[in-house]
């Protein structure tokens, strides 16, 4: 499995071949509280860097899933759409949100840099 990288917007990105899996970090889910609704993009949707491609709603607030680089959605996690609590229980695993194909190189942080950001 490839190394997990992070964005300053509290997302994690795992690139395998030309496909990147994206979710929100464990830190982000803890800040949100119980996730009650996840709105994910349609497959095939093209997006620009920084574009909001999904929403994660908790009882208290709304978080946006921000694209770290331009690309296209190739798969979404239907399981998490049906059971949003997966984002809380497995933010960096079973609670992944989308798989995308980037057309640009995203700017990502390694784990140490991300931990520093959230320390």
């Amino acid at each position: 499995m490839s190394e997990t990288k992070y964005t300053k917007d509290h997302e994690w990105v795992r690139v395998e071949g030309d496909i990147a899996t994206i979710g929100i970090t464990d830190y982000a889910q803890a800040q949100l509280g119980d996730v009650v609704f996840v709105d994910l993009p349609g497959i095939g949707r093209a997006f620009a860097a920084g574009e909001a491609i999904g929403e994660i709603e908790s009882t208290k607030s709304v978080g946006e899933l921000l694209a770290p680089a331009a690309g296209e959605v190739v798969e979404v996690n239907d399981e998490v759409a049906g059971d949003p609590t997966l984002v809380n229980s497995g933010a960096e695993g079973a609670g992944w949100l989308v798989k995308v194909r980037f057309s640009d190189e995203p700017e990502l942080l390694d784990e140490a840099a991300y931990r520093e950001l959230t320390a």
């Binding site: 803890a30 509280g33 119980d34 009650v36 929403e55 709304v62």
Partner: protein
């Protein structure tokens, strides 16, 4: 004639006496009106459900306790607040409002009468200094004092169907709690410390609020946790408190209530004693009314799982007619609920929508509260 208490300028950040207890329990803390308070200990949905089904324990030590004493205490509060506080008996509690001269709301309060000449006024943490300042300004001519006891006082709430069983088994020396009626209080002693035990709350469930000296808060908290084990008591944070009060249709200052809103606009006309007492601050403005077309508070429900949130526009057709003041996906009801301030005509419209970040969510005007424990039972 005097008011004492730290002024905002010289005050250091206050701290709940239970901060170490919360940290040890793994609470997630947030800044709330300058206090670090638990927003949740684990799952805010589980905390919400515990209060509806069993019981929850809240630290509300950030709320402001202002003690009003003196021969004119009752007359002073009649002149300073919207309600007729002189009419309540010792140990009775009353929900009241502190109004501006213009009839707007400075804060909403619970007032406990502790004796012929003594009252405890409990204000919101965010309005502690505003409430203290407003009361101090109004003391002129009255033989009474207002003392800010917020930081010497801890407040914990036990709310939920098992609250009586739990609070009844922590070893309080008091009259029988089961005979204590809603909005009544009684003096009690816990391990040698005075406790004011009140049958009040902000959740829509039966429950108690206990006021005790700050230094004794930890022992009281631990005793409640221990007694609660057999009843499924959950430690609850401010997130659950907010969804519970919203379901119960209870207004929150800064959301439904503000200096720009008169009581009648938010369904609190009954709290203003226009007929039973003389002059008080805000009377003339309330008698004149907020003016034609002033927004009114309504309840809204919707389908699905996307919640209208504070600040989202409410539309009738393509016209903005108001905005959401509070909203959430109701944990108990399973659908979105919200309160909104809208043009009077919109209160009877059947074609309202909420602009949820660009998409239109159809919303149905619904009487408040959304939830009552009687309807559920």
């Amino acid at each position: 004639m005097t008011a004492t208490g730290a002024s905002p300028a010289e005050a250091t950040a206050p701290e709940t006496p239970l901060l170490a207890v919360h940290e040890a329990a793994g609470a997630q803390l947030i800044d709330f009106a300058g206090w670090r308070m638990p927003v949740r200990y684990g799952s805010d949905l589980a905390e919400h459900e515990a209060v509806r089904e069993r019981a929850g324990l809240f630290d509300l030590s950030h709320m402001a306790e202002l003690r009003v004493s003196g021969p004119d205490a009752a007359a002073f509060l009649d002149a300073a607040l919207a309600g007729r506080l002189s009419a309540i008996e010792p140990w009775q509690a009353k929900y009241s409002l502190l109004l501006t001269e213009q009839g707007g709301i400075v804060d909403d309060l619970i007032v406990y009468r502790l004796g012929e000449r003594e009252f405890l006024v409990v204000a919101n943490a965010s309005n502690r200094h505003a409430a203290l300042a407003a009361l101090a300004e109004r003391l002129d001519g009255f033989d009474a004092t207002v003392v800010d006891e917020t930081e010497q006082t801890a407040l914990v709430a036990v709310q939920g169907p098992a609250a009586l069983a739990i609070v009844g088994s922590i070893g309080l020396e008091s009259e029988p709690l089961e005979e204590l009626r809603y909005y009544r209080s009684l003096p009690a002693v816990f391990e040698g410390e005075d406790v004011l035990v009140a049958r009040t709350g902000y959740t829509g469930e039966d429950g108690f609020e206990l006021y005790i000296a700050a230094h004794a808060a930890e022992d009281l908290w631990r005793a409640i946790v221990l007694a609660g084990e057999a009843h499924g008591l959950a430690l609850c944070g401010l997130a659950a408190r907010d969804t519970l009060r919203l379901e119960a249709g209870m207004p929150l200052y800064g959301h439904e209530l503000s200096r720009d809103v008169q009581p009648v606009q938010v369904g609190l006309g009954r709290v203003v004693a226009l007929k039973t007492k003389g002059d008080f601050v805000g009377r003339a403005a309330v008698e004149a009314g907020p003016g034609e077309g002033a927004p009114v508070l309504i309840g809204l429900t919707a389908e699905g799982r996307r919640a209208p949130r504070a600040g989202y526009p409410v539309l009738d057709g393509d016209r903005v007619v108001g905005s959401i003041t509070s909203g959430a996906l109701s944990p108990t009801l399973g659908h979105p609920i919200a309160m909104a301030l809208v043009e009077p005509a919109a209160a009877s419209s059947d074609s309202l929508t909420v602009d949820v970040r660009g998409s239109r969510l159809p919303a149905v005007v619904t009487p408040l509260p959304f939830y009552t424990r009687e309807a559920r039972a």
